[in-house]
Each structure stands twice: as C-alpha cells, then as structure tokens.
C-alpha cells in the first residue's frame, strides 16, 4: 500500500498504481481539509492523478522523480477553473 495516512496528511510513497486511486479518494474524504504529501512519490497512475485533479488537495513537498517534477507538478499547479464543480 503506497497510500498512508498520518496526522491528517495523506502520504503518497513509491509507485502509486491504479489500485491506489480508491484508497486515496477514501482518505481524502475522511473529513478535514485534504492534504497530500507526495515528496516520496516515484510514479503516479493516471487514475491517481485524476483523484488529485478532482479533489484538489493541498499538495506538500515535491517529488524527486523527473517526470513527476517536470510534467505532473505543473498540471497539478493549475487550479481548476470554471470547469470545477464541488457543489
């Protein structure tokens, strides 16, 4: 399991496969402002990325892996615009 919860923060660590999407979503819905620390993340399945994009938790840390750093971080940095709908 690469999704770990500790002190109100969800940690994504190592390779996060497709199976992580559901537990990640559950953890983020656990109440309290959603916060994700992904500094230990080595890879992210598209389904996991989708959860992050849909829920928009506060992201902490910065993954060392080059693809995540160069390409995924900017994608997650763009806030959901008018297209988001949380109601």
């Amino acid at each position: 399991m690469s999704v770990r919860q500790e002190g109100g923060v969800v940690f994504l660590e190592g390779d996060c496969p497709v199976e992580d999407a559901e537990p990640l979503l559950a953890a983020l819905l656990g109440g309290g402002p959603p916060v994700v620390d992904w500094s230990g993340c080595a890879s992210l399945h598209t389904a996991v990325l989708q959860v992050l994009l849909a829920v928009r938790p506060e992201l902490r840390g910065s993954p060392g892996e080059a693809f995540l750093q160069k390409w995924v971080r900017p994608i997650l940095a763009i806030p959901n615009k008018a297209i988001s709908c949380t109601g």
Binding site: E22, L25, T46, L49, A54, F67, I83, T86
Partner: protein, 749 residues
C-alpha cells in the same frame, strides 16, 4: 519535366477532380454503384500511375485509400461523412503533392508524416468512427496549437531548432476511453515514456462531480501534448490505443515567433554586431567574402537557436548569395530589417502555396478541332503570302504606270480576314470552361455548411460556358468569397429560416451565362438579404456620403455602396445586414480583368451578386482619341457614344461643368486635365466629347479629336510601368507608335 510526368500531372488532377465530385455525390446519396466504382477506379488509377515516379508516400497513401474503398465499391458500406472526410483529405493531399511535383520535381519533405496522418484519418473513417477528432492534414496549425501556452510554443521552437532529419512537431490529442483503466491503460505512463515531449496538458472532459460522487475508475480526462520527433515513432508509442489518439504534424510556421523586439536581447546583440561588422566590411574588399560568410553564419545561428528557423534559413541563403557576389549590402539590409522588426519571413513552402491559387491545373488542354482550325488558317496564310510574292514580282516587271491599288486592296482584304480569324482561333485555344472554377464550390459548401450547422445545397449552372483562361482563373477567389459570404452572412440559421416560412435547407446558386462577348456569373443566396438602410447609415457614418446624398440614393445606388472600400469591412456591413465582408476585394479582383460587379437584394429574400467579365482579356476594341498633344486608346465598352457640342451648351452646377446629353445632365471633365497633361485650347466653338459609362455612371470627357476605332491585342504594362495606375496596357499602332490604353475607371475615380 518529362512528358510522362506531365501526363501524370494532368491526368492526376483530372482524377482528383472527378473523384472529389463523385464522392460528394455519393455522400448525398446520388450516383449509386456507378459512382462508387468510378471513385474506386480513380484511386486505383492514381495509385498505379504514381508507382511510375519517386513518390512512395503518395503511392502508400493511395493504396490505403483504395483498401478503404473496397467495402464502398462492393456496396457493403455507405459513403458516410467519416469515410468521405478521410478520402477527401487524401485527395487534397494528392492535389497538393501534384503541385509540388510540378514546382519542385519532388514531394515536400513532410510527405511521409502527412501520408501517415491521412492514413490514420482513413483508418478512423473506415473502421468504427468513434468520437475521435478527425486528423487535420494541413493548414490547421493554429487550431492544433490552441490548447498550448506561449511557454509551450517557445519550448517547441527550441526543440524544433535541434530536431534531426525527418523529425517534426506533432500535436497529440489523446482521449482515453472511459473504461480504459479496466483495460490496464495508464495514459500518463505513455507520455512518461514518450520521446521528445515538449508540452503536456491534462483536462477533465467535463465538470468534476463532488468528491463523494467521484468514480475513481471512470476516466474523465483528456490529454493534449506536443512532441518533436518522427511521426512514425510517436504513433508507435500509442499503437495500443490507435483510435483514442490523433497524432498530427504541425507546420512549423504555425509557431510563428513574435517579432524581434527588445526582449530578445541575446539575438539582438548578435545581429547588431554582425550589422556593424558588415558596415565596416563594406569599405574594404580584402577578406570581404570571409567576413560576409562569418557574419551570415553567426546571425543565422543566433536566430536558429532562438527557434526562428525560417529567418535563419533566409539569412543563411542571403549570406551565400552575398558571398558569391562579394557584396555585403543585401545581407546587411536584411539584418537591419530583422532588427527593425520589419520583415516576417515566410517559409518558402508557405510562400509558394500562397502564390499559386489552387486550380485543377495550369496547363491548357485543347480540343483537337481547335488546333486543326489553326493549322488550316496557317495554311491559308501561306497561300496569301504567296499571293503577295506574285504581286511583288508583277510589280517589278510590269509597266511603271500600272495601278496596283485594286490588287493590293484585295490582298489586304484576304490578309485582314485571315488575321482576324487567326487571332480568334488563337484566343480560342485559351478558352476554358467555367466548370473549372465551379468545381471548387461543392466542396466549399459541403464543408462550410457542416461547420456552420447551416444545411445548404448548391445549384451550379453554366459549367460549359467558356472564357479566357485568365478570366476563369481570376474568378476563383471572388467566387469562393461570394459563396462563403452568402453562406456565412446571408443564409440564416435553419431555425430562423423555418420561422420565416422558408425551407430549412438554404439554396445557393452559381450560374454562368454568355452575354454578347461577355461572361456573366451570378451568385445568389436565399438568405436574409441586405439591410440597405443600414448600409446608407454606415456610409454616412464613415463619411462616404452626406446624409442628404444618402437620402437621395436609390436602392441601386445603396447596393453599389456595398462594394465601396471603406464600407465593406468585417465590422461594416456584415454584422448589420448579412453580407459584405471584403466585397471591395471581390470588386477589385473582377475589375482587374476588365469586369464589373453589381448587386441586388431583397430584404428577407436573399442577395444576388452579378459578375460581368470580358470573355477574353487579350483582345480589345479601342477608340482612338487625341488629347493634350498625345494619342490614347479607350476601350470601346466604356464609351457609350461620342458627340460634338457647341461650347455654349456647357453649363455649371455648383462649379462643376456639366452638359446635357439626351435629356441627361452629365458632369464634364477635360481628359488632358485628368491625365495631368498640358492643356491645348480646343479649336473653334465646338467641343468633342466622349460619353463614358463606368459602373453605371456617366461622365463626359472633352478630347481634342476622336480618331476612329481599332481592334488590338493589349499587352499589360510591365517593367517600370507596371505600377502605373490609370492604364490597362499598351498596343502597337500600324506606324510602330506605342499606344497607351486608358482605364477610364481609374482615370475618373
């Protein structure tokens, strides 16, 4: 060009044209099995002939298209829009490549990539056409780049500058299926492993649901990416999800960098240095070539690394030329222009494409009978020449006092007839049918109608009417413009039409007829018509007319205003009344070949634009006039009549001299004054007048003398004269004098 290639080009264009026509008919449910077979045969023949030349991508593309056509030929599949789109895209590409073959003797460098894209488009159309976007083949660079930011584009430019041979910029649109996660797909991973990625964007396909309602295994993302590399390699990366991905080449010029401004200090500095170096070099000859070469290389490199590939190539080319000529000036000027932000270098291919209008072919195919007639006339000419030789011998040996006038007159008569017929036959060789430009219209209407969501049908008539090749070719742009205008601005949306009690499907008609030595083409729509009151108001607002003049202007005059340069702009007539973007351009194009335009409109009923053109531009009937000590030709078609009037008949209205002719008051001008020539006092109390008719308005022109008529072949002004306004061309008089022929439309403007 070998005769074989020439034949391939001609036949190829015919086949492309015929297949396009048949495909469009099939899509409309017309033509039946016969048309399906004809389309198949056209592709098959094209493929077969293409195999004779070094055009492998074309052969490969046509092979793929032929395969896709088999179910259509066998009646197992209907000609649906997806299939027709794919096949039309192939034909477009083949047409483009035939032009390239003619121009450069080879296919363009990106032919492989384009063939791949078109084949992918075919596969989409031939298989289950999903909701995958169609793969654009050309010219859509702007649209493809839409999802990307300026930073993305800059990154792409940089990557392109370092791209290797065969590599290009590709836009990737990946729309994964919603259940893709269950198939084990991980779209993000495909991008992670993609070579040459320069930009990546991920977007939700719709608004996100509330987090509690989110299904994490329902993929609702779409991906846009740019990559630099070989199309085949990139497509291979997506080979497992071919119908969810479109990989489309983006023409590099679509990345057009902004003009060189103060911000690009690095490039500026280098360019300024080279300019300084070159201005010094201009003084001394020693080592000049070396310095030119060094400067050109340094400047081109700087531009190249800034992603300004076209500019870099341009400078490198100029540098080589400058070195060869030992002259720094052109290179220096180009660098300075770049620094001043004055030039926009257009890549050669784009320039060539812009310069050559897309017509089915530039050669002329001539019926055998027309050539036979010319040959027969040439034979008669030889006989007449022999008659002249006989006459000459007789005159030499005959009695000195004999009068040869009668014999000479007879011979002149024969030669006159022959010359006339010969000219007629020769001009006949240049006659081509209007169908040649009409054929571009069905495709335009089909595409535009789908794009605008306005159902429309096109009626064509008079395709067989013939006119000079130059006239027919000059018609292409105005016709495209008018049909586009009619559909975009004239025709109402289907709902509005139904509400107005009109059929939901609009009708556009283009009709050509022959009318007394002229060809008249009428473009009619059954749209909303033009609001002439709004046109008048607009003209007054633009200062083209006073309110009083506008009030006096009849509907006919108001309709003419639509063609006025200041009025028919995008923000002008179109938004008010549904017609008129660039109508002045239409008028200019038609007038350039001696034609005229007029327009009639019915509110709610539609608009009709009439183009009247000479059937042949080369031959003209002229009237000779003398004024200001010079002699000029005036096209007879612009002269309604000539008259002599007593000077006392000239009156003045508001300071403007006018004369009354046949009950009409006509403004009078002195032609010598209009032309800026020294005025010669007219003799006696009588004035010689030409009554000129230009665009429906009359004007009287005072000349010194009218000297008769002349049939002439006009030569366009060339060299330093070509920029001169007010003249249609020149012709040679019998005594060797060069006669300038006036364009009264310009002279009176």
């Amino acid at each position: 060009m070998t005769p074989l290639l020439r034949q391939f080009l001609e036949e190829g264009r015919d086949l492309v044209r015929d297949a396009t026509r048949d495909l469009l008919a099939l899509e409309q449910g017309e033509g039946g099995a016969e048309a399906a077979h004809a389309v198949f045969r056209a592709f098959h023949t094209l493929k077969g002939s293409s195999g004779l030349f070094e055009v492998a991508p074309m052969t490969r593309l046509l092979h793929a298209a032929e395969e896709g056509l088999v179910p259509l030929r066998d009646g197992r599949r209907a000609a649906d829009a997806a299939l027709v789109d794919g096949l039309l895209a192939c034909l477009d590409l083949v047409g483009l490549w035939l032009d390239a073959l003619e121009r450069d003797g080879a296919l363009p460098a990106d032919a492989q990539a384009r063939a791949d894209a078109a084949i992918a488009g075919l596969a989409g159309g031939a298989g289950k056409a999903g909701d995958r976007p169609p793969a654009p083949v050309e010219g859509d660079g702007e649209r493809l780049l839409e999802p990307f930011t300026a930073a993305d584009r800059a990154a792409a430019r940089e990557a392109l500058a370092q791209a290797g041979a065969g590599e290009g910029l590709l836009a990737i649109r990946y729309q994964p299926r919603r259940d893709c996660f269950f198939n084990g797909d991980d779209p993000l991973r495909l991008f992670r492993d993609l070579p040459g990625l320069v930009a990546l964007h991920v977007e939700p396909t719709g608004p996100w649901p509330a987090p509690e309602a989110l299904d994490p295994y329902d993929c609702a993302l779409s991906f846009h990416a740019l990559a630099v590399g070989q199309a085949a390699a990139l497509r291979a990366a997506f080979r497992l999800v071919p119908d969810e991905v479109a990989v489309t080449p983006v023409p590099p010029e679509a990345l057009a960098p902004p003009a060189l401004t103060g911000d690009d200090s690095g490039v500026r500095e280098v360019l300024e240095e080279q300019a300084a170096l070159l201005s010094v070099a201009a003084g001394s000859q020693a080592g000049l070539a070396g310095r030119i070469g060094a400067a050109a290389t340094a400047a081109a490199n700087a531009l190249f690394h800034d992603g300004r590939v076209a500019e870099a190539r341009h400078l490198a080319g100029l540098g080589a030329e400058a070195m060869a000529r030992g002259e720094a000036a052109p290179l220096l000027a180009a660098i300075r222009d770049l620094l001043a932000g004055k030039v926009q270098v257009v890549p050669a291919e784009a320039a060539a494409r812009a310069a050559t209008p897309r017509l089915a072919g530039r050669g002329i195919r001539v019926e055998e009978a027309r050539v036979d007639r010319l040959v027969a006339l040439a034979g008669e000419m030889v006989v007449a020449k022999n008659g002249l030789a006989w006459l000459l011998r007789e005159a030499e040996g005959g009695p000195p006092g004999q009068d040869w006038r009668r014999d000479l007159q007879a011979l002149h008569g024969t030669l006159d007839r022959l010359a006339r017929e010969m000219q007629d036959a020769a001009l006949g060789l240049r006659l081509v049918p209007l169908g040649r430009v009409f054929q571009a219209l069905p495709r335009l209407v089909r595409d535009l109608s789908a794009q605008l969501g306005k159902p429309a049908r096109l009626e064509l008539d008079g395709e067989a009417v013939e006119a000079d090749k130059a006239v027919v070719e000059a018609l292409l742009e105005p016709l495209l413009h008018l049909v586009r205008n009619g559909l975009v601005h004239g025709v109402e949306p289907a709902a509005g039409r139904l509400a107005a009690g009109k059929p939901g499907v609009a009708t556009l008609s283009v009709r050509g007829v022959q009318d007394r030595g002229r060809v008249v083409v009428e473009v009619t729509d059954d749209g909303r018509g033009i609001d002439l009151a709004a046109v008048r108001d607009r003209a007054v607002a633009r200062g083209l007319l006073t309110a009083e003049e506008a009030g006096e202007l009849g509907d006919e005059g108001a309709a003419r205003l639509v063609f006025a340069p200041g009025l028919s702009t995008a923000e002008g007539v179109s938004e008010l009344s549904g017609r008129g973007v660039g109508m002045d351009a239409v008028r200019a194009a038609v007038e350039a070949v001696g034609g005229s335009v007029s327009l009639s409109t019915t509110p709610g009923g539609g608009t009709s634009v009439r183009l009247s053109l000479p059937q042949s531009v080369a031959a003209a009937r002229l009237m000779l006039v003398a004024t200001g000590g010079r002699r000029f030709g005036v096209p007879l078609e612009m002269v309604r009549e000539t008259a002599r009037l007593d000077r006392s008949a000239i009156r003045r209205v508001k300071g403007q001299p006018v004369v009354s002719l046949r009950g009409q008051v006509v403004p009078l001008f002195r032609l010598d004054q209009l032309l800026g020539l020294p005025s010669e006092p007219s003799e006696g109390g009588e004035v010689r007048l030409l009554l000129a008719e230009v665009d429906g308005s009359l004007a009287a022109l005072e000349v010194n003398a009218v000297e008769g008529r002349l049939d002439a072949v006009l030569r366009p002004l060339d060299g330093i004269l070509s920029g001169l306004r007010g003249y249609l061309g020149t012709t040679l008089l019998g005594n060797g004098e060069v006669l300038l022929v006036l364009d009264l439309r310009e002279v009176l403007r």
